[in-house]
């Protein structure tokens, strides 16, 4: 739909027959899944423009993974001290509260959407979002005429021997612990992996009182040199980098580039990490290993877009500069499926500022309004920056060289690398799905969120987009009580 036409969802929603699942009687103009930066920006903008919005989010409070709140009982006085751009969040959170009071936004916190399906009863099309609400996992169905998926991302993990030891945490997880609980993962924390988040995490940990003996970065920051134009167009991002860099200097933290933690040691808990130099393809260079004592290890390799709701709807994906799969989106933030928009990390990892811009643009598109040129330029600038960063931190193919055959790659099902290698070499598994079928890697509770990237690398293929028709575990009684539609076949 062109911005000049008026694609605004019709406001004459017919009352729905009660389906006994706690659904509201009429369809919202827009359902937004995810209340992180993108979803929050989209919801408040859409409500500003007169749409009736339902905002669903698994968290108890808006902000998503990025804007995390200390638990109220901690009585933190300045949560913003740990955040960049808290003001951007605070103003939108305020607008959210105003719209909620005015009845323009229905905010369903603690709602985990497990699937979105199309209902074609009327020509305009309508979507049903099935969710589990609260700890009791009550079934809720939300109806909407348009859907914005702002489901964010999760952390990319590349396993290494010893990564299952207590004390080894995700870098994003360490940051989250700090923001939400003001808790440190240890007193002496090695921060490792790849990507700009590592600098932020190290800075936060040091500021909160931990010793950080080293930040171990697998990429080489000289990799940025070839992409300077994108960096220079993003002065704010450079300043952010300078702040992190400054924090490292201030706290006396060593930055080891082109290095990786190739093993964690310890019995009941991590006691040390072995760090080795990497060649251009991220293969550990023999003879360069050294041990760094620590009582915690915060590791992460950037983020992976969380796409299962979108792929479940058939939305097209692409491989981005950082090697992950993301949604194909047009300049209106539309997916390849009519009626489904997306914003934020789902379109390619790009950070909170880009997510805010995209959320606002998506909302304007859904409301049939023109897109402000300044915001569009801002999006291109930030996207170019994200691509440059993504390319610099894309894992090299040689990283699997630090996996020994007995390293568990899939933690849920305890599948070691050797078993996966056997499935690939001897049994004809040429992709991640077949590895899963033959080894159970990725079949456990996390459904491959933790090991998916590693399994794909071992199978020698690019990681495919998330495919999880159920985005979270769903009690059978909830499925059994879904509204009947009396057969689906044509």
């Amino acid at each position: 739909m062109a911005p000049s036409s008026d694609p605004r969802p019709a406001r004459t929603a017919a009352p729905a027959p009660g389906d006994g699942t706690g659904a509201v009687a009429s369809a919202a103009d827009l359902a937004v899944v995810g209340a992180g930066p993108a979803g929050l920006a989209a919801a408040v903008t859409a409500a500003d423009l007169g749409l009736r919005v339902t905002l669903l989010d698994a968290g108890d409070r808006p902000g998503g993974q990025y804007y995390r709140h200390p638990a109220p009982e901690l009585g933190a006085e300045r949560p913003e001290a740990l955040h960049h751009g808290w003001a951007a969040f605070a103003s939108r959170a305020r607008r959210l509260r105003d719209h909620e009071r005015a009845g323009r936004i229905r905010h369903l916190a603690g709602h985990h959407v497990w699937t979105v399906v199309r209902k074609d009863e009327d020509a305009a099309g309508e979507w049903h979002l099935h969710a589990l609400a609260g700890p009791e996992e009550q079934a809720v169905t939300v109806r909407a005429r348009a859907v914005l998926l702002a489901t964010g991302a999760y952390e990319r993990q590349l396993p290494f021997p010893g990564w299952t030891l207590p004390g080894v945490v995700g870098a994003g997880g360490a940051q989250a612990m700090l923001k939400a609980g003001l808790v440190l993962p240890g007193r002496r924390v090695v921060v490792a992996g790849s990507g700009p988040l590592l600098l932020a995490v190290a800075g936060s940990l040091a500021a909160a009182g931990a010793a950080v003996p080293a930040v171990v970065e697998a990429a080489s920051y000289t990799g940025y040199a070839g992409r300077l134009p994108a960096l220079l167009r993003n002065p704010a991002k450079l300043a952010e980098g300078a702040v992190y860099g400054g924090a490292l200097v201030r706290h006396g933290i060593r930055l080891l580039t082109r290095h990786a933690v190739v093993e964690a040691h310890g019995t009941d808990r991590v006691e040390a990490a072995t760090v080795a130099r990497l060649d251009r393809d991220w293969r550990p260079v023999p003879g360069t290993a050294r041990r760094i004592p620590c009582d915690a290890l915060a590791v992460g390799h950037g983020l992976v877009p969380q796409l299962e709701l979108a792929t479940g709807l058939g939305c097209a994906t692409r491989t981005t500069a950082d090697g992950t799969a993301a949604l194909v989106l047009d300049e209106q933030q539309r997916t390849s499926v009519t009626g489904i928009w997306s914003a934020g990390e789902t379109g390619g990892i790009g950070g909170a500022q880009l997510a805010l811009a995209e959320g606002e643009l998506a909302a304007r598109s859904i409301a049939g309004r023109p897109l402000p040129a300044e915001l569009v330029r801002r999006r291109s600038r930030l996207r170019a920056f994200a691509d440059a960063m993504g390319a610099a931190h894309r894992p090299g193919t040689g990283w699997t060289g630090w996996l020994s055959d007995d390293t568990d790659v899939c933690r849920c099902e305890e599948v070691p690398a050797g078993l996966i290698r056997e499935a690939v070499a001897d049994l004809g598994a040429t992709d991640a799905r077949t590895v899963k079928l033959l080894t159970r890697a990725g079949m456990g509770w996390c459904q491959g969120r933790m090991c998916g990237q590693a399994v794909a690398a071992l199978a020698g293929c690019a990681p495919g987009p998330d495919r999880r028709p159920l985005s979270c575990p769903v009690p059978l009684k909830v499925l059994a009580e879904l509204p009947a539609d009396g057969g689906t076949a044509p």
Partner: protein, 392 residues
């Protein structure tokens, strides 16, 4: 064309049927190459539950095939590695009321005459077989011959054991023919493979291979969803289903049919499958299918209502209009052999199919009459069943 590097047989399809054909052909002394556009078990096999059932088949040619397969699977279980997860766990079919039980009794009598071991279980004896089964069933039948394998493992291990050359990720784009029109190999995206014989084990996509030879084989996709629960201690001991499943399997209707078959797995999760509907290759999630599977599973085992589904998957069964597979030579295209169209029973029927096809390829007398499975039985006309063939 054929040279000393050419295999005797090229098999198209690395699913369980292609793998079984490779296994028995190699055992009969033939050299074999298996080609697949995807990985091993990448089509319907990988989306299967691994059912080796005699219980759901009425007396007739398919049951004969299933009984032969049952014997062969028992042998294979000793030859293939334990990862194949062969479990002769037996099936339990329960009847909700007296009328269904009576029908089931008649059905079982026919099966017994064909060699099936079917034992009627009185309502009071059901809990001994399945302690968590809901109360109130009129009775049931126990089928000790029903068994289970892990389907992807079964295909991969059969293929590995066959010693066949495998060319995965290579799609067949044409069939090679000799001067007299005889099929003499395949052309793929990476080159040509000459061979004396070509086997079409392309499953749901078998109709397309037939088309390459200019013959018609109306294989259609019949979609099924399976629900997988969280890992559980052993709650379900057999393959358990309600008697109406049998009617669904044999149904010609395009509409969604479902009657849950519930079973445990060595890995812990309970599998609940599977729906049947003809909707072409539609990959979108049907919440209606999940609703029915979950409801029916909980009706059989109330304890499952409180359990969570971790995932669901779907597959497309290769279905021929008369519900029987195509097995044997195609007189319309000499040199081409078919082994496809096994609908939802491919895992179970694979060994018998492979053995019979190896017999045909080596000129031995097949252990079963292949007449009911003749590939040319649907004719070359463009008759009724093509109507639903979205993409077949």
């Amino acid at each position: 064309m054929p040279n000393r590097h050419s295999p005797d047989v090229v098999i198209i399809g690395a699913g369980v049927v292609g793998a079984a054909c490779a296994y028995y052909a190699a055992r009969a002394g033939l050299s074999v190459t298996v080609v697949d556009r995807g990985p091993v078990a990448g089509g319907t096999t990988g989306a299967g539950e691994g059912n080796l059932l005699v219980s759901d088949k009425e007396a007739g040619p398919e049951l004969d095939l299933a009984l032969l397969s049952t014997r062969l699977w028992r042998e294979l279980a000793t030859e293939l590695p334990p990862e194949t997860e062969y479990e002769p766990k037996g099936g339990l079919v329960v009847a909700p009321d007296e009328t269904t039980l009576k029908a089931l009794r008649t059905f079982a009598e026919g099966q017994r005459a064909a060699g099936v071991d079917a034992r009627e279980i009185a309502p009071d004896d059901l809990p001994a077989l399945e302690p968590h089964l809901a109360a109130g069933f009129a009775g049931g039948f126990h089928y000790p011959q029903d068994a289970q394998v892990q389907p992807a493992q079964a295909a991969a291990r059969l293929l590995h054991a066959s010693g066949a050359a495998t060319r995965l990720g290579e799609e067949v784009t044409a069939l090679l023919t000799g001067p007299d029109g005889t099929v003499r190999g395949v052309r793929t995206t990476r080159g040509e493979i000459a061979a004396r014989a070509v086997v079409n084990a392309a499953g749901t996509w078998g109709g397309r291979i037939a088309e390459l030879a200019g013959v018609r084989l109306p294989v259609l996709p019949r979609r099924g969803f399976v629900l997988v629960t969280e890992p559980l201690p052993r709650l379900v001991r057999h393959k358990v289903y309600a008697a109406d499943y049998i009617a669904d399997v044999a149904s010609d209707s395009a509409a969604l049919q479902s009657s849950a078959v519930v079973e445990g797995t060595p890995g812990g999760p309970v599998l609940i499958g599977a729906t049947r509907e003809r909707v072409g290759f539609d990959r979108s999630l049907s919440t209606e299918a999940l609703r029915r599977l979950a409801g029916q599973a909980a009706a059989l085992f109330p304890v499952l209502g409180e359990v969570r589904a971790l995932r669901t998957y779907h597959g497309f069964r290769p279905y021929l209009p008369d519900h029987l597979p195509a097995v044997g030579p195609d007189p319309r295209a000499p040199g081409l052999f078919h082994a496809c169209g096994h609908e939802g029973a491919g895992i179970g029927l694979a060994p018998a199919t492979g053995l019979l096809l190896a017999d045909v390829l080596t000129g031995a007398r097949p252990a079963l009459d292949l007449a009911p499975f003749r590939p040319e039985r649907f004719g070359d006309g463009t008759t009724s069943h093509a109507a639903n063939g979205a993409g077949a």
